[in-house]
């Protein structure tokens, strides 16, 4: 091993080292770029108002929201202070759902969170209002569900429980875990 080959070996190792470090640092930088691009919404709408019609041309639901951000690659849309108006089948008066925030996934399922309110606009509806922290709404089937605790206010009663499922089309409601319902004294 004469001096020349020793120097060649050192030089070789040095260059491999430099190349490795450069490669490693560039891979880091590139990665953070990728995450950033997904977090930037593809489009934003302020004071959004939109009516959505179903295949047969019937008004399915309306939504208005203070702010909307759509993330195409992540396939979801985020709303701030959304107000949904739902028009279930064979029902004259609609239901309204509002919350502090909601996330719509492209299978037409909406997750609503924080101060969620479901209101029946029909005057003589058995159920008037439902309050909860979290609610799932399937816009295709008009089925609303929540596994969190809910408070249901109706004509002359207040109901507490969790495991709520309401089908706005068939107008059937169930609470898989009912805690208690209190009926106010009916005015005789």
């Amino acid at each position: 091993m004469n001096r020349l080959s020793v120097w060649a070996l050192i030089f070789f190792l040095l260059s491999v080292l430099v190349y490795g470090v450069a490669e490693w640092r560039s891979s880091l930088v590139e990665q953070t770029d990728a995450i950033d691009s997904e977090l930037i919404p593809d489009f934003i709408a302020e004071a959004l108002k939109s009516d959505i019609y179903d295949v047969s041309g019937k008004l399915s639901h309306k939504i208005d929201a203070q702010r909307m951000e759509h993330y195409a690659s992540l396939e979801f849309t985020h709303f701030e202070f959304p107000n949904y108006t739902l028009y279930p089948k064979n029902e004259s008066s609609p239901w309204k759902v509002s919350a502090n925030e909601a996330t719509l996934y492209n299978n037409n399922r909406v997750m609503l969170e924080n101060r969620v309110r479901l209101l029946a606009t029909a005057p003589e509806s058995l159920v008037k209002e439902i309050h909860c922290k979290y609610l799932e709404l399937d816009l295709n089937t008009n089925i609303i569900s929540s596994d969190q605790t809910v408070v249901i206010k109706g004509k002359g009663f207040t109901m507490h429980g969790s495991g709520l499922i309401i089908d706005l089309n068939t107008k059937q409601m169930t609470l898989t875990e009912h805690v208690q319902t209190i009926y106010e004294k009916s005015s005789r």
Partner: protein, 144 residues
């Protein structure tokens, strides 16, 4: 007692189902209705609302469904039947199907008994083949 009827009616149960169209709320599994000293235990209770009044009818079913309440004189009344219908608006309780009323030591049975919660009066009826039987135990002093 009469004070019971000024109180709110509470219903506890494991599950609940409501038919929003026909305005019927059903309570299922270990159902207990309480209103002051009045207690109804049943397997299922349905609550019917009326069109434009908030008067409600509570229909309890069980094997049997039971009803008990402390009367103004402090005595307790017990009712049991397959079906107990409680209409607070009319102060009426109608029990039917192996209906049995027990109070202190007297007992009335028949196929249908109606009991007015205000006047504390009752009337028992029976189908053709069943008899209304009333057993009145004398108030004996020594019996505690």
């Amino acid at each position: 007692a009469k004070a019971d009827f000024e109180q709110r009616i509470k219903i506890d149960s494991d599950r609940q189902a409501a038919d929003l169209k026909n305005k019927i709320a059903s309570y299922l599994d270990n159902v207990k209705i309480t209103q002051g000293s009045l207690v109804i235990n049943a397997d299922i209770v349905q609550v019917f609302g009326e069109k434009d009044s908030d008067v409600k009818t509570y229909l309890a079913k069980g094997n049997p469904a039971t009803f008990e309440q402390l009367l103004d004189d402090g005595k307790k009344i017990n009712l049991q039947a397959d079906e107990i219908k409680y209409e607070p608006g009319k102060n009426m309780i109608t029990i039917s199907g192996h209906a049995l009323l027990r109070q202190q030591d007297s007992q009335v049975s028949g196929s249908r008994i109606t009991y007015n919660t205000l006047t504390e009066q009752l009337s028992a009826e029976s189908d053709k083949n069943e008899r209304v039987t009333t057993i009145l135990e004398p108030e004996s002093k020594d019996k505690n």
